[in-house]
Symmetry: C2
């Protein structure tokens, strides 16, 4: 056990909360009396990702290998419950990303363990937990006047076949880690600590595999995905296209961001029987190298004239100078694979698209409108879920909590 770990520790009696919630409130409160239980000796491992900062982690953080994305319904009774929930989640999240257990060293054996235990002994695994609020939450808790205009509902697009059971929600948590069990544990822990005030609505898993030596990762269509993604080290671009700013409509969202999540199923079997030339024409890129048509390598400049009119990368970004530069979004999606549709032989697999941006009305929506209208890729994919989230500003100090600016606005 590392001795470097902070002694300040939360007793998040999540299990006890689960039991107590049937009777009482369900929101669990802090205690600093219990010592930290380290999950693992972290000295030889990649360091835990810092939880505090101007922005939440999990947006510019280099993508981890595993995702569990959870949407929650808020079932509490108002603003105070939301406030308590966000305080509780903040403390729990700081503990989890540090690779520590929510359990105390000594617990009452007559109560459920505070920590479910499946991550005990595992590394922090670069866990990030990124929290967002859905459009439906604000009116529910009497904060309708604080709802950001950027959080307008995503319009229905042609070909959308959205499953309400996998769409929308009042709150979201994006858990990313280099270990699926660590991400799973984090969502389970947050669901337990929020018991009685929130209820899980849907969870999406995903994975992403890194090529040897690095470079752009491939999606399940076999193509490099993310070549044209803006660089997270381009501060000016992050400022203009990703981060919400004061004056954008709701100042409390400054340094937050807006996230659009879309589950995009691939018709794997249809795709797999299409010709290589067809597949490359659909994207406008060569499959192996990732080079755009007319280019020689992955990062060759894209010349619109070399691309078929309905090629995916042309529709996604028709390169009309400043107009389309301002639409660029920061994609952070994950591949998913859920076996076969029960009783059928078709694969349920695809891309769980996640994109951070400053204003979906001016970025995701016009991009998706172009794609829905004419993208050749539409023959091979199906959007089956959609949601939009106000991703909270980061917090800089341990005595702050996520969403504090909303409550103080």
């Amino acid at each position: 056990m590392s001795r470097k770990l902070s002694r300040k520790q939360l007793l998040i009696a999540g299990g006890a909360a689960g039991a107590a919630a049937a009777v009482g409130g369900g929101i669990v409160h802090e205690s600093s009396s219990a010592p930290a239980t380290a999950r693992a000796d972290t000295q030889t491992l990649p360091p835990a990702v810092p939880f505090h900062g101007t922005h939440q982690a999990g947006i510019l953080t280099p993508q981890q290998s595993d995702l569990r994305f959870a949407s929650f319904d808020f079932i509490g009774s108002g603003k105070d419950d939301l406030h308590d929930l966000l305080r509780t989640w903040t403390t729990a999240a700081a503990t989890l990303v540090a690779g520590r257990s929510l359990g105390a060293a000594k617990e009452d054996p007559a109560r459920p363990p505070s920590d479910t235990g499946e991550a005990t002994g595992l590394a922090p695994a670069r866990l990030t937990l990124t929290f967002g609020l859905g459009p439906t939450l604000f009116d529910k808790v009497g904060l309708g006047s604080k709802k950001p205009p950027q959080l307008a509902d995503i319009p229905h697009f042609p070909f959308d076949e959205l499953d309400p059971n996998q769409s929308n929600g009042d709150l979201c948590v994006q858990a990313c880690a280099d270990d699926p069990q660590v991400a799973f544990h984090a969502i389970r822990a947050l669901a337990r600590t929020g018991f009685g005030v929130t209820a899980l609505r849907w969870i999406q898993s995903g994975f992403l595999s890194s090529p040897v030596g690095g470079g752009t990762k491939r999606n399940l269509m076999g193509f490099k995905d993310g070549t044209a993604n803006p660089s997270t080290s381009d501060d000016a671009m992050m400022k203009s296209n990703v981060w919400a700013a004061s004056g954008d409509g709701q100042d409390w969202m400054a340094n937050g961001s807006y996230l659009v999540s879309r589950k995009v199923q691939i018709h794997i079997e249809v795709w797999d029987s299409s010709a290589e030339s067809e597949q490359e024409g659909v994207f406008g890129r060569h499959k192996l190298s990732g080079a755009p048509f007319g280019g020689t390598s992955e990062f060759s400049p894209v010349d619109i004239k070399d691309l078929p009119t309905r090629a995916h990368i042309r529709r996604a970004n028709p390169r009309r100078g400043e107009v389309t530069e301002r639409q660029r979004i920061l994609r952070r999606g994950y591949n998913f694979d859920e076996g076969l549709e029960a009783g059928f032989t078709e694969s349920v697999a695809g891309l769980f698209f996640l994109a951070y941006q400053r204003d979906p009305r001016a970025q995701f929506v016009p991009i998706q409108a172009r794609l829905a209208a004419q993208d050749r890729l539409n023959e091979y994919i199906q959007h089956v879920s959609s949601a939009v989230w106000a991703v909270l500003p980061g917090i800089r100090k341990p005595d702050e909590y996520l969403g504090q600016t909303l409550f103080e606005a």
Copy 2:
């Protein structure tokens, strides 16, 4: 690209097969004319797991982090189609586990790519592909007289609620790798190369996370799982309890094994609201340390007298000397997590139990009969799928194929 890779390469025109199968046979034949396309420079990575050996890899191989387990229906027309399928799969599997693409350096762009491409650039990731035959296959292909008696149907147990869509099958492939995309790609590739002769029936994903510094992994109930598993380096135990031998009934199975697969769902929310003392009593072990009741550490000897009568580890192995020693099985299961049941708030998560053994009739069946009758764990779990497989003997040389002893018997 490593120059060490063999030039001998199969053109498994899986994509072409997919297209051609609508017209013709669907079994793809070999060609040695195309050069190997290396997936990645493998020189700095863990070496690929050898494909050839007395036994198939993926049984004694230290468990990889990710599983894709596929069950297939055989839809070919008889013994010859099965023979061709096993030859094709053997060649494809040897290529895949070496970390190589099924594609040739130059392919006809008017045809579907031979390799779907999502593993291009990825490491071999210790991929193993382990092939088995289901009880229903033998009569289907006119080989009923070759069916091993060990492959008897698993009886129905109390509390079983088996989903036929997730149970049984004519053929299975267990793909394990330290990268989910590599395992996914392998199953997809094998499904494509078998197109027209086999059809996917169900696929199960799983994962397993390694504690820092090694040691027994934890399941999603938070308990160490596998403490009492026999050591894979105990040759005598592997011989007596895992490997089929000449004289066991069907000599062609010598050096093969029998695999029982069971999908065991955990009622996560119920478990999470049970007391720590209850959880520990259910297993008969302490949660954090893994020590059995009455013991001080994980590997303390188990004394039956210290265990509650219905404790899981007592029911699983009541330690009656030689009788129960001969029942011991080699477990190689994976945790799974499939989000929430659609439209509900219950998690779909648990353990995909995989156990290798010499004779399920004398090992898994009596163990499970004891558990189904009295195991306290039954209150928290549900078996939802079941299958039994004759896992083929290994092949020692590149000119042999999996299942060869069956055809030559």
